[in-house]
C-alpha cells in the first residue's frame, strides 16, 4: 500500500470514511485504506445537496471495476456541497483520498458532538486499519 499517512486532525469510522470538522461544518471522504481495498474507482454516486443524513446512514456509493461499496456518513447533518469533480474524475479518490478526492460537505446537526465522540482518532484508526489489512 502506498505510504499515505492518515491526517491527525480527521476522525475516522470503522467503515473507513473520514471526517474533517471546521467549526459547524465538516468535509467527508474515504480513507486511503478504503481506496486501496476498492481498487481503481470508476463511478461515484453522491447525495443530493440539501439532504439530511444521520450518522451511519448510507449517503452514497463508490464503485471500482469489480466492487460496489456503500459509504456511511460519519455524523449527522445536512449536505451542503458535493465534490462535482468526481463525476468526471472518480480516480481522484485513488490519487488523493484525503484531499482532492473528498466526497461531500455538511453542516453538522445537533447530535454532532456525540456522533464525533463515537469515531476513532488518528492513532486508533491507524491501528484499526493495520489490523483489518492483515485479513
Amino acid at each position: 500500500m502506498s505510504a499515505v499517512s492518515f491526517p491527525k486532525d480527521f476522525r475516522y469510522t470503522n467503515t473507513h470514511e473520514w471526517i474533517k470538522v471546521t467549526g459547524k461544518t465538516a468535509r467527508v471522504g474515504l480513507t486511503n485504506y478504503a481506496q486501496d481495498q476498492l481498487g481503481e474507482v470508476v463511478f461515484v454516486e453522491l447525495p443530493e445537496v440539501g439532504r439530511t443524513v444521520k450518522a451511519g446512514d448510507i449517503f452514497g456509493v463508490v464503485e471500482s471495476v469489480k466492487a460496489v461499496s456503500d459509504s456511511y456518513s460519519p455524523a449527522g447533518g445536512k449536505v451542503t456541497k458535493v465534490n462535482d469533480k468526481l463525476s468526471d474524475s472518480p480516480e481522484l479518490i485513488n490519487q488523493d483520498p484525503h484531499g482532492e478526492g473528498w466526497l461531500f460537505e455538511m453542516e453538522l446537526g445537533d447530535q454532532a458532538e456525540a456522533d464525533l465522540a463515537n469515531l476513532m482518532d488518528q492513532p486508533a484508526y491507524e491501528r484499526f486499519q493495520a489490523e483489518a489489512g492483515e485479513h
Binding site: G39, E40, V42, F43, E45, V61, E63, S64, V65, K66, V68, S87
Partner: protein, 363 residues
C-alpha cells in the same frame, strides 16, 4: 511467485490465484490490448480422452461438430443437458486420431467430470483421465504475444493458426502444449505444462516480454477483457436455465453432426423461435450495470429481464452490459432501463461484440 509481482491473491480450489497485480485492473486490461499480458490460469480443468472411440464419446456431449477440423484443431463447444440448458462450455483439443484434451471451467470440474463419466458408460473401451491437478496453464495474450513466445521456442509459432494447437513444443527448455487460443479478444497463446515447469516458463516469458511491455495480469482484468469481447462466462451468460441459442452461440450448435445430448430440445427451440435473447446494453443514464441487476422496459415500469454481466469497460471507457431480454425487445437502438439501487436508469440496446480487435495478427 505471484506475490513477488505485487499480486492480490485469492484461493480458488487449492490454486492461489491473483485477482490483480500492482498495475491494477484497468492498466492490466489496457496493456493486454495494446501490448501483452501474462495470465496464470492453472485452475482450469483438463480431461484427457483416449481409447477406442474418443470422437464418438465427445460428439455425444458436445453440441458443436468436433470432427469438422483435422488434428491440431481446437473446437469451442457448449455441453448441454437434455433440456438444452448448459452444463459448461469447453474447448476440445484434437491431439491425435485417438487422443483429445478437453479444457473445462475451473468451477465446473467436478460437475463436468460426473456428467461426462455418465456419458462415458455408453462407450466401453474409451478412457477419460482428469489431469486438472497435474496440468498448469499460462495464457500469453495481446498483439506482442507472438513475438514474445517466438523468442523462447524453435517451433515456428505462425504455423499454429487461430484455434489450433501443437503438442510437444519446447518453450524455454520445457515440454509444453501450445494453442492459439485465449479469453481476451486478442491474439495469443495458451501454454500447458507440468506444474513443476510452470514457474520457469512464467519467468522466461516475463523476461522475454519485458522489452515488449508485457505485464502480469490477474483474473479481474481477464474478466473485463473477455466481457468487452463478449465471450460468455459460465454462471453469468451460461447456466442450466439458458440454452446456447439464447446466448447467441447458435454458430457453435451443429444440428447435422448426428445425435447429441440436448439436440431435440435445441431443435425444438430453434423451430418455435426464442423467447429471450442475450443482447448488449449501454448505459445512457449514470450507473454501472452489474450481474443480476434487473432490466426494465423503456418506461422503467415492467421487469423484462436481467443483466448477466455488466462493467465499466477499460478499453472502450463505456458502462456496458450483457442482458437477457424478450426477443421482441432485442433490437439495436431499443430503449430499456436497468434497475440500479431501486432506480430505473436509462440504457439502450447496442451491437455485440463491444470490442473486436482491428487487424488480426497475421496467422
Amino acid at each position: 511467485m505471484h506475490i513477488k509481482y505485487g499480486g492480490k491473491v485469492i484461493d480458488f480450489g487449492g490454486w492461489a490465484l491473483p485477482v490483480q497485480y500492482g498495475a491494477g485492473i484497468i492498466q492490466e486490461h489496457r496493456t493486454t490490448r495494446e501490448k501483452a499480458g501474462l495470465f496464470d490460469v492453472s485452475h482450469m480443468g483438463e480431461f484427457r480422452v483416449t481409447g477406442q472411440d474418443p470422437l464418438g464419446f465427445i460428439q455425444r456431449f458436445t453440441v458443436n461438430d468436433i470432427a469438422k477440423g483435422g488434428i491440431g484443431r481446437c473446437i469451442y463447444s457448449p455441453m448441454c443437458y437434455p433440456t438444452g440448458g448448459v452444463v459448461d462450455d469447453l474447448i476440445v483439443y484434437r491431439l491425435g486420431e485417438k487422443e483429445y484434451l478437453i479444457v473445462v471451467n475451473a468451477a465446473n470440474i467436478d460437475k463436468d467430470w460426473a456428467w461426462m463419466s455418465e456419458v462415458l458408460k455408453g462407450f466401453p473401451g474409451t478412457n477419460m483421465v482428469n489431469e486438472s491437478a497435474t496440468t498448469a496453464e499460462l495464457a500469453l495474450q495481446g498483439p506482442k504475444a507472438v513475438a514474445i513466445l517466438q523468442s523462447l521456442t524453435k517451433t515456428d509459432l505462425l504455423d499454429i493458426k487461430y484455434y489450433h494447437c501443437l503438442d510437444n513444443v519446447t518453450v524455454a527448455g520445457r515440454k509444453t502444449l501450445v494453442s492459439r487460443t485465449g479469453y481476451t479478444g486478442e491474439d495469443g497463446f495458451e501454454v500447458f505444462s507440468a506444474p513443476a515447469d510452470a514457474e520457469a516458463i512464467w519467468e522466461a516469458i516475463m523476461a522475454a516480454g519485458k522489452p515488449h511491455g508485457l505485464i502480469p495480469v490477474g483474473l479481474g482484468a481477464r474478466d473485463t477483457l473477455r466481457f468487452e469481447a463478449c465471450m460468455p462466462l459460465y454462471g453469468q451468460e451460461l447456466d442450466a436455465e439458458r440454452t446456447p441459442l439464447e446466448a447467441g452461440l447458435g454458430r457453435f450448435v451443429s444440428f447435422d453432426k448426428g445425435d447429441f445430448i440436448g439436440r431435440a430440445a435445441l431443435l425444438g427451440q430453434n423451430e418455435k423461435g426464442l423467447q429471450r435473447k442475450l443482447v448488449g446494453i449501454e448505459m445512457v443514464g449514470r450507473g454501472i450495470p452489474r450481474h443480476n441487476y434487473r432490466v426494465l422496459d423503456a418506461e422503467g415500469a415492467k421487469d423484462i429481464g436481467y443483466v448477466s454481466t455488466g462493467s465499466y469497460c477499460p478499453s472502450l471507457e463505456r458502462n456496458l452490459g450483457l442482458a437477457y431480454v424478450p426477443t421482441a425487445v432485442a433490437e439495436e437502438g431499443r430503449k430499456v432501463c436497468v434497475s440500479i439501487r431501486d432506480k430505473a436508469v436509462e440504457a439502450v440496446i447496442v451491437k455485440v461484440p463491444f470490442y473486436k480487435r482491428q487487424r488480426p495478427t497475421k496467422a
